[in-house]
């Protein structure tokens, strides 16, 4: 009986954490899209990424949650904030003008996408989707992820390194062109 009570209390706690993280996630997602100052948008995206990391932890993906906080909320967002600070007032994106046909179509397309996916999930809910596989404690741990990367997914690992190298070279080349453009503009 006490074991049952303890597991019920644990489940309630999981649901509470899930609801908090999910609503923080959705709220900050809407905030990113709606702020007119990109600096606030970027800060809201940091909150979004942090609450997603909580959801990843609930899905026992510990390494991915840690990588999310380090790579995204750390490195990528710092880069965003530097660029926004560099651009200054030019980065502002105020909401101007009346709703045009383009904007209405954009809202309709996003709503249609949402309805489609939710209907499919609703149709497939229950049954096979609600059965979760049994996992061991090693699931999602750094050692397990490392083992998978260096055995089953070695090619993906190597290709990822090439993608990152190409992106770094591309960033340097774009920066070089930007400097040249700066001279031409003067």
């Amino acid at each position: 009986m006490s074991v049952l009570l303890a597991s019920t209390a644990g489940n309630v706690l999981v649901w509470i954490v899930w609801f908090a993280a999910a609503f923080a996630c959705l709220g900050s997602g809407v905030a990113v899209v709606s702020f007119s100052n990109p600096f606030y948008s970027a800060l809201a995206l940091i909150g979004n990424l942090a609450s997603l990391a909580v959801l990843y932890l609930l899905l026992s993906a510990e390494f991915v949650a840690a990588a999310q906080v380090l790579v995204y909320a750390g490195a990528v967002m710092v880069m965003f904030l530097f660029v926004i600070a560099y651009l200054g007032w030019r980065a502002d994106a105020p909401w101007t003008g009346r709703p045009t046909l383009q904007r209405l179509a954009a809202v309709a397309a996003a709503a249609a996408l949402l309805v489609e996916v939710i209907v499919v999930i609703g149709l497939k809910a229950g049954g096979r989707l609600s059965r979760e596989a049994d996992i061991t404690g090693a699931f999602g741990s750094p050692s397990e992820v490392g083992r998978l990367f260096l055995t089953d997914h070695l090619l993906a690992f190597e290709i990822t390194s090439i993608v990152l190298l190409v992106a770094a070279v591309g960033g340097v080349i774009l920066g070089h062109h930007a400097r040249r453009g700066d001279r031409e503009a003067r």
């Binding site: 899209v33 609930l58 062109h177």
Partner: protein, 101 residues
Amino acid sequence: MGPDVTWYLAVAAFLFSTGALGVLLRRSPLIVLLSLEIMLNGANLSLIGFARQQGSGDGQIFALAVMAVAASEVVVGLGLIVAMARRRLELDVDRMETLRG
């Protein structure tokens, strides 16, 4: 039982369409990039949810690869935005009609 994978998929769907709305609606290239990140993260959440449901780590590997691609995309995107700003171009994706530098 905590929330099963369906709940996570619903959150992922909301995130993905919020991001899609931002990409379609906003004109500032910075906010378009931020919305793209939301779309990628929605896809990542569903990958990790399915990895947990199937009990296989492959989905997590895919999510990490998506993260690396997103980081590369941000480097190139921000480089383009800085290049646009240096050339005194207006930061508006609707004005970027030609690919000629």
